[in-house]
Amino acid sequence: MMTDYDVIVVGAGPAGSIAAREAAKKGAKTLLIERKKEIGAPVRCGEGIGVEHIKGMDIELTKNDYASVINGARLVSPDLKNNITVRTEQSKGYVLDRKSFDKHLAMEAGRAGADVMVKTEVIDVIKDKDNKVKGVKVVSGILEASSDHTNNDVYDITCNVLIAADGAESRVARMAGVGINTIRPLSEYDSGYEYEMVNVDCDDLIELYFSNEYAPRGYLWIFPKGKDSANVGVGIGGDKSDNGIFAKKYLDEWIKGPMHERFKHAQPVAIKGGLIPVGSSLDRLVADGFMVIGTAAHQVDPIHGGGIGLAMKSGLMAGAVAGDAINNNDYSESFLKRFENMWNEKLGPKLKKRLLLRKAVEQLNDNDFNSIFNTLDDNDINLLLEGKYKGVALKVLKNRPQLLKSLKALIV
């Protein structure tokens, strides 16, 4: 059967735009669909990204794409008395301007030959009589109805491979009904709230604040966008807001309370927030004619909740495999599994290891953190970031043997 497109990608975030670019580069007739009327806006993100995530993506960052260059990170203890500063190649990065960055990536998809459709929302997935994914149903504010078109603004668009890159909401995989469930227990999500603020003194480091009091099972952050402006936010465990406490309230109380001096002149110029899946990637990423990628597939770094870099990596792999599928005339699950295997091979072990660290850190209370900040130095943090846990965990245990149970998984 002739389809409208070879590949349809839903969602023009970092995952979807890179996937569409890669599929188009392979010669596949590709459509990128985005619900928003302007790609990139509104932003729901802290916008921090490590340089290593940009490398290998074949993107030339323009000056508009980022607000600031970051040379490292400062980690701060719950009592605010201690901090550890890391300045390594690994910890360098950017605070992006995602309004510009996301649009830039979508333009690259367009330049590679993909069609781009904004103000168009996928409301269902179309299947054929064998229950195979065949395309999408959309409501669109930009498609022109043909004369025989009666059903308001609803249209069907068909394809051979559908890629769901619809971010944390992740409804498209569920619409597809191919046995990929994207819902996890609330403890595997963070709930985030953030202000972009002016009159906040900043240097060239991102700042992470650990505190069970103000960010249960998460952390607070200050990501500089300039010398006097920053994204200031909190992520808390998804099962931690209840009974009148929620992410916004934690953040407000932190800003007004212990951080009052730093923020006494600060003014919010934007509010951002949202859902961050922080467990592990979905096990199943493909079905016949179907792939799910990026944050929609829970592909987020379990330690810091960053998802932009992994979304692009996922898009890079999935777009290429989708393009190959078209060129081989094989859209079966077993062909598309090349993407799933690639993901597991390249990132599986590393992410599994980082999840281990998250699970251990989640068990620490503020006294534990305060004591750990007295014990560890920047070199130890580097070791942790490199996945070398054992020596660091033993060092912590020397001072705090009572943590043996929490840290046991890190020393075997």
């Binding site: 609330l186 999500y189 985030g192 927030g273």
Partner: protein, 59 residues
């Protein structure tokens, strides 16, 4: 029983949409739509909301 969204507090972030197990919620630009026929009143949306903008009323 109903699910109420406080439009003044809501920041249209879609967090509730992502944890609704039965797809009873949809983010439509600056609006959250709730489908009473699908809702199973599980409370996920209320618990995840970073802005305290959605309430599951069980009476």
């Amino acid at each position: 029983m109903s699910v109420k969204i406080d439009k003044d507090k809501c920041i249209f972030c879609g967090a509730c949409v992502g944890v609704c197990p039965v797809m009873a919620l949809r983010l439509n630009n600056d609006r959250i739509e709730w489908d009473a026929d699908k809702c199973i009143y599980c409370g996920n949306c209320e618990k995840i909301c970073p802005a305290n903008a959605i309430k599951v009323e069980k009476k």
